[in-house]
């Protein structure tokens, strides 16, 4: 089933005088269950593409369809709801709310969805256990390591059982061993829970594990191949 479809996606930044074409005419389809890595040198448009797919930004030209719906014409409220239910985000850093514990951070989207306490507890613990961080429940973000923080971010992203999880350079601030463990666990989630992952990275460890690798250069798709 097609989760994401983009048509001639174009994003141009202009400050009045200079125009920067971040993305040009990108059309692709993402199917459910895929594990995609978008790679490319800095400035190639990876993050821009991710933001557009995730509804965080609007394209200058072109369309993005999430499960058949055109998200480029959606209003702010609708998009927000969409991101809550259907999309999970993992950023490079500062993913977590500092004043909330690990449990509360993961619980947050479920609270916003109106899910009752008992069910929230079950789902959060389940996801924390799956990610091997169950013992960190009551710790605050500043009390755990970077790698553990990113795992919590993954937990939060998947606890809502989203259609797709978007990660922007998730291993950027981690050492290679931790980074490796992180991408492994993302793969595990992808396989056990059939959650679609789209990851932007220039980390070779990440690119290695891609099942489908989309290479971008100067805002255009250079190559798009299934690796295994």
């Amino acid at each position: 089933m097609t989760i994401i479809k983009t048509e001639n996606l174009t994003k141009i930044y202009s400050d009045g005088k200079v125009e920067v074409v971040a993305l040009k005419d990108v059309s692709l389809e993402i199917l459910s269950g895929e594990f995609i890595v978008i790679a490319g040198p800095s400035g190639s448009g990876k993050t821009t593409l991710l933001n557009l797919i995730g509804g965080l930004d609007k394209p200058t030209k072109g369309k993005v369809y999430l499960e058949g719906k055109d998200i480029t014409v959606m209003k702010r409220e609708e998009l927000s709801d969409l991101r809550l239910r259907k999309i999970g985000f993992i950023f490079q850093a500062y993913n977590l709310i500092p004043v909330l514990t690990v449990f509360e951070n993961v619980e947050l989207p479920l609270v916003l969805l109106g899910i009752p306490e008992k069910e929230r507890f079950e789902r959060v613990m389940e996801v924390l256990k799956a990610l091997g961080i169950a013992e960190l429940v009551n710790k605050k973000p500043n009390e755990i390591s970077g790698g553990q923080q990113q795992r919590v971010a993954i937990a939060r992203a998947i606890v809502t059982e989203p259609a797709i999880v978007l990660a922007d350079e998730p291993t950027a601030h981690l050492d290679s061993k931790t980074g490796g463990m992180l991408i492994d666990i993302m793969q595990e989630m992808n396989q056990t829970r059939r959650i679609t992952f789209v990851i932007c990275s220039h980390d070779p460890q990440v690119i290695q594990r891609a099942r489908r690798l989309i290479k971008l250069r100067d805002g255009m798709v250079e190559s798009d191949e299934k690796l295994w």
Binding site: L56, D81, L82, G88, P98, V99, P109, L112, G114, P116
Partner: protein, 424 residues
């Protein structure tokens, strides 16, 4: 794993609890800043509560002593007396009038009085004076005149042609207690009369204008001397609660209308006092309003800083599906926490001070004292614990704080996820 949407109420409650948790923890992220801000609010609240306490307490005190003694809270007069306070505008103190007064609930006491401008002479010296014809027994329970005797004694029910003189008048006349003086006046019938009276007491009201001129005598004597049989200038009335003045005034006015009489409140009769109070009140409110505005700047700064520091975090929250309104709600809760804690602390401190002041009024000395005494009031600082002090103070500070926070809240409302994330 099943997903179901429970009833909206449960969701709202849960969410609000969660937000309260976040908001509460957020304000303690920067302990020092929060404490300083709360202290500033508490300071403004305390000062406001104390100042308003003293102001309102003093007004009540002034009204009770001045209006209570001189004009009464309500006064019955003949129509036209206020424009022309002469013997011509006196009225007959009939039984019907007494009945009407007695039938009115909440009236504690009523005192008939007869006033006249006269000339008083000790043989050597003459001065202008004002006769206050009073009923001594009634006045015992009505005013505090009897407490202000400096020498001699107060009037008695059976006093006949005895007078009390204001202390300055007594001094000016150069007489002793027990001496006789002559009072000269135009009576109700227009004829000029004079009569001898015996000075049995000297009174110090504290109000210079009166101490210079007042001559207290029995109402009956005044009526006889002034050929104003059974007539009075005013009936001063005390009621149980100041709040009931308007109601009782209206009732009396209606019932007395047919006799060409009106009922006025102390505000109508003692316009100067009313305006003095209003002026002081307005000045106080204005000053405190500016104080609150100045503290509001501080709140604005604190909230602005705390919001801008978190644009990153807000951006990410928005990205994962937090709606802007909800972020605004959280910041709003933070503001409410800070402001309400400050208000509560300040109200408590201020309230304790006011309570202490009520129980132990500060008696003034020196310069301050003489100003009060010039106006015939005991020189003391009192306070008040009227609820409206606390309610108005709290509400004002709350409203001003919210208004001053509009801009940071708006910025949160308009924040786009990417802008927040990329914010430095």
């Amino acid at each position: 794993m099943k997903k179901f949407s429970p009833s909206k109420n449960l969701r709202k409650e849960d969410e609000i609890m969660f937000f309260l948790k976040i908001a509460w923890r957020n304000i303690w992220r920067n302990k020092r800043r929060t404490i300083i801000t709360i202290t500033a609010i508490a300071f403004a609240t305390t000062i406001t509560v104390i100042m308003r306490g003293i102001q309102l307490g003093t007004y009540d005190y002034l009204i009770r002593t001045i209006a209570g003694n001189y004009s009464g809270y309500i006064q019955i007069q003949s129509k036209g007396y206020s424009e022309d306070p002469s013997l011509r505008k006196t009225f007959i103190y009939s039984d019907e009038i007494k009945k009407i007064i007695k039938s009115t609930p909440d009236i504690i006491a009523y005192a008939p009085r007869l006033y006249a401008d006269v000339m008083i002479s000790s043989g050597e010296n003459s001065y202008g004076g004002i006769i206050y014809g009073i009923d001594p027994e009634i006045e015992f329970n009505f005013s505090n005149f009897h407490k202000k005797i400096k020498h001699g004694r107060f009037l008695r029910k059976d006093s006949s042609y005895e007078v009390l003189l204001g202390d300055k008048l007594f001094e000016n006349l150069k007489i002793k207690l027990g001496d006789e003086i002559i009072i000269l006046s135009q009576g109700f019938d227009g004829a000029l009369w004079d009569m001898k009276f015996k000075v049995v007491g000297v009174i110090k009201l504290g109000y210079t204008e009166l101490d210079n001129a007042v001559i207290f005598m029995n109402l009956k004597d005044a009526q006889e001397f002034l050929s104003a049989e059974n007539r009075v200038s005013v009936i001063a009335i005390l009621i149980s609660e100041l709040e009931k003045i308007e109601k009782i005034k209206r009732k009396l006015s209606e019932e007395l209308n047919s006799k060409s009489l009106v009922a006025l409140s102390w505000e109508d009769v003692m316009v100067e006092l009313k305006q003095s109070i209003e002026f002081d009140n307005a000045s106080g409110v204005l000053f405190l309003a500016f104080l609150i505005i100045i503290v509001a700047f501080g709140i604005l700064n604190t909230i602005s800083m705390s919001v801008v520091e978190r644009f990153n975090e807000f951006g990410i929250s928005l990205a994962i599906g937090f709606k802007n309104q909800k972020l605004v709600l959280i910041v709003l809760l933070e503001i409410l926490f800070i402001v309400l804690i400050g208000i509560l602390l300040g109200s408590l401190l201020g309230g304790i001070f006011n309570y202490y002041l009520i129980k132990n009024p500060i008696v003034l000395t020196g310069d301050f004292a003489s100003v009060y005494e010039e106006f015939g009031i005991e020189p003391k600082f009192v306070s008040s614990l009227k609820p409206r002090i606390f309610i108005n103070t709290g509400l004002s500070i709350l409203i001003v704080s919210l208004i001053s926070s509009v801009i940071p809240l708006y910025r949160v409302y308009k924040l786009e996820p990417l802008k927040g994330i990329r914010f430095t």
